[in-house]
């Protein structure tokens, strides 16, 4: 009887263990959309970053254009970007502080502040807008999310999350994001206008580990309204959470440089 009990207890423990395992898996699978976004934000939003990248713009009926830039970013709303190649574009600089952006061209010798819809123009004619290139917004703060399901993408398990903007002034009122379920990096994204019209498609790949984060080293962007181009951004070097000189994000630095 006791043995039975013991045996019974033993079986009960085994059953309980199995249930616990099932429940744990289920609870991970049942992340709320908000939790998914929080994990993406935690991985993708860094305190500071320094990136050198090569931007290749491919034209349907012209030679490719290759540009190289160096960028600094701090938090979600400060960034500085300077083109270093080719020679004719070297020294063109862009400073983003909150909602405003300044452009400095060596030939003009004075910065110009651009606002509003200008931020949606292509950066140096690429498929990335000035906004795309300079913003690093928090998804949780800006969007309401709905989990559409899971999909395999490039042999990675992804959560498909549908985002709807909380504010009217965001460049993309709806986004559909395929989030890597283990590394919390978006692998694909479709960005839409309020009307539901597809504006951009981004494919993120070559995800590498930097410290305790995962970072995509290749971003392919296609602006649906700019039909004859495609732009690939290849990160050449990425440093995250490093010390950034404070003066980088100032107008004197933009205009003076050093």
């Amino acid at each position: 009887m006791n043995r039975t009990t013991i045996a019974g207890v033993g079986r009960g423990a085994v059953v309980a263990g199995v249930w616990l395992a099932v429940l744990t898996t289920a609870s991970q699978a049942q992340l709320t959309p908000r939790q998914i976004l929080e994990r993406v934000d935690a991985n993708m939003t860094m305190s500071t970053a320094r990136v050198t990248a090569q931007m290749t713009i491919t034209y349907r009926d012209d030679d490719d254009r290759i540009l190289i830039y160096e960028a600094w970013a701090q938090g979600t709303d400060q960034s500085f970007l300077e083109f270093t190649a080719p020679a004719r574009d070297a020294g063109s600089r862009f400073l983003r502080l909150e909602d405003a952006m300044w452009i400095y061209l060596p030939r003009v010798g004075k910065s110009v502040r651009i606002q509003g819809h200008m931020l949606r123009q292509g950066l140096m004619g690429s498929d990335f807008s000035y906004g795309d290139a300079s913003e690093n917004p928090s998804m949780v703060e800006d969007y309401d999310a709905v989990l559409e399901g899971e999909e395999m993408l490039e042999e990675r398990r992804t959560y498909v999350v549908d985002l709807t903007a909380k504010r009217n002034d965001l460049a993309y009122q709806r986004r559909k994001v395929w989030v890597d379920a283990e590394r919390w990096v978006p692998l694909k994204e479709e960005r839409f206008a309020r009307s539901g019209k597809l504006l951009k498609t981004a494919l993120l790949s070559e995800v590498r580990r930097i410290g305790d984060r995962w970072y995509p080293f290749r971003i392919e962007m296609d602006d649906a309204l700019q039909t004859d181009t495609r732009t690939v951004l290849q990160m050449l070097s990425v440093e995250l959470d490093i010390r950034v000189p404070r003066e980088v994000f100032t107008l004197p630095y933009l205009e003076g440089g050093e």
Binding site: D89, V108, G125
Partner: protein, 416 residues
């Protein structure tokens, strides 16, 4: 015994008849005059409006023939400066040698961002050869105050409404950012030397005019332009000229130019051409209305004389003679009214052709190449057509009452 046919001096009789009741005649003559005046003037007026749009479009947009890089038309909205015409000076000298060519001018058109007094706005930058443009876009004629920009200097003339929105004036410096031929970002600092008012709202609201060389610096286009506009001695030569230039330029710049006559550049001008027959229909309706007024008046005039006509028939006047007489009366009245109307219509047309009709206020709201002043375009043919219509309508109008009169038995006519 053969009865000799009496010859009735119908025309003289008709003329005399018109003077019998001057009030009646005057009424009919006035009806014809008003109708013919309206026809003559309206022809000149409508031709003037169509001419205004076509001419404004040719001068500002299309030329008679426009030469651009192949594929530009499809991307026109974006004003892509990377779609450029190279070796412009060589092409220009070849084009100017063509006997049908009055002038050929290079232009650079670029979509830019203009930074004025702390605000910026998108604008349209036009790089022009100021001297050669005098008879065409004619920037000097748009100047409001100041001096036009000089070639070789970073100077700009800016649409007056645009300047107001930017909060700038003559003497201020603006920064202009735009695309370069290599599709990157170029910029220029320019001093505003002049404000422009063209009367064409789409220009005054967004236009910046700079010397060609400055636009070439901004867009990185040495010896290149985004278009060459060709003006023929006569707009009617445009289509064959485009064909000839295409063949000629092919041998210099192989196969990558788009050479289009003004009629082939977008639907607007084709529509305008199609509007001419449509306006013909409108004019036809106007003629019909004028004819009805004349008919109505003639009808009244003849009906009034039923008794008299019955009397003439009873006295043995032949029916054909009566018919002939009444129609002749109609023709005489038509001729008098027609001549007066044609003279009046032509007079008004020619007068307004010189003074113009000011539609500046109305033109501000429309996004068409349309100059505020409309100058009717009077041509002798319009007076002839007006006159012919008046005479014909009066003659035809007299037929019905005349036939009605002669069909009546003399006794019945006398009773009425």
């Amino acid at each position: 015994m053969s009865r000799q046919r009496r010859r009735i001096p119908v025309l003289r009789l008709a003329w005399r008849n018109t003077r019998r009741n001057t009030r009646r005649t005057l009424l009919t003559v006035i009806a014809v005059t008003v109708a013919v005046t309206a026809i003559t003037f309206m022809f000149a007026y409508i031709t003037g409006i169509l001419g205004n749009i076509v001419n404004s479009y040719a001068r500002t947009e299309s030329g008679h023939v426009r030469i651009r890089k192949d594929g530009y038309s499809e991307r026109e909205r974006l004003m892509p400066v990377y779609l450029k015409v190279d070796r412009v000076s060589e092409l220009l000298s070849v084009i100017r040698e063509h006997p049908d060519v009055e002038e050929a001018v290079p232009r650079i058109r670029s979509s830019v961002l203009v930074d004025g007094a702390g605000t910026n706005r998108p604008g349209m930058l036009l790089g022009l050869d100021f001297e050669r443009e005098n008879a065409y876009l004619n920037p000097a004629s748009m100047a409001v105050n100041g001096t036009p920009p000089r070639a070789g200097f970073p100077e700009v003339m800016i649409g007056d409404e645009f300047a107001e929105k930017l909060g700038i004036g003559v003497g201020d410096t603006i920064t202009v950012l735009g695309q370069t031929a290599y599709r990157s970002l170029g910029g220029l600092r320019l001093v505003v030397t002049d404000l422009a008012s063209s009367g064409m709202s789409f220009l005054d609201n967004s236009m910046l005019v700079v010397p060609l060389d400055q636009a070439q610096v901004l867009a990185d286009l040495p010896d290149a332009a985004t278009e060459i506009l060709v003006f023929a001695h006569d707009a009617a030569l445009a289509e064959p000229l485009a064909v000839e230039l295409r063949a000629q330029l092919e041998s210099i710049v192989t196969g990558d130019l788009e050479v289009l006559s003004w009629l082939d550049q977008g639907p607007l001008m084709r529509t305008m051409q199609m509007m001419r027959p449509m306006l013909g229909v409108v004019m036809g309706l106007m003629l019909l209305m004028a004819g009805l007024i004349i008919i109505n008046t003639m009808l009244m005039t003849v009906m009034e004389r039923t008794q008299e006509l019955g009397m003439q028939a009873a006295l043995g006047m032949r029916r054909s003679d009566i018919l002939y007489l009444i129609v002749s009366e109609g023709l005489v009245i038509g001729l008098i009214g027609g001549v007066v109307g044609a003279i009046l219509g032509s007079g008004v047309g020619i007068w307004l052709e010189h003074t113009g009709i000011d539609f500046t206020a109305a033109a501000r709201g429309i996004d068409l190449p349309f100059q505020g002043m409309v100058y009717p375009d009077w041509q002798p043919a319009f007076a002839v057509v007006g006159l012919a219509c008046g005479v014909l309508a009066a003659g035809v109008a007299a037929l019905y009452p005349a036939r009605r009169a002669i069909r009546m038995a003399p006794a019945e006519a006398l009773r009425q």
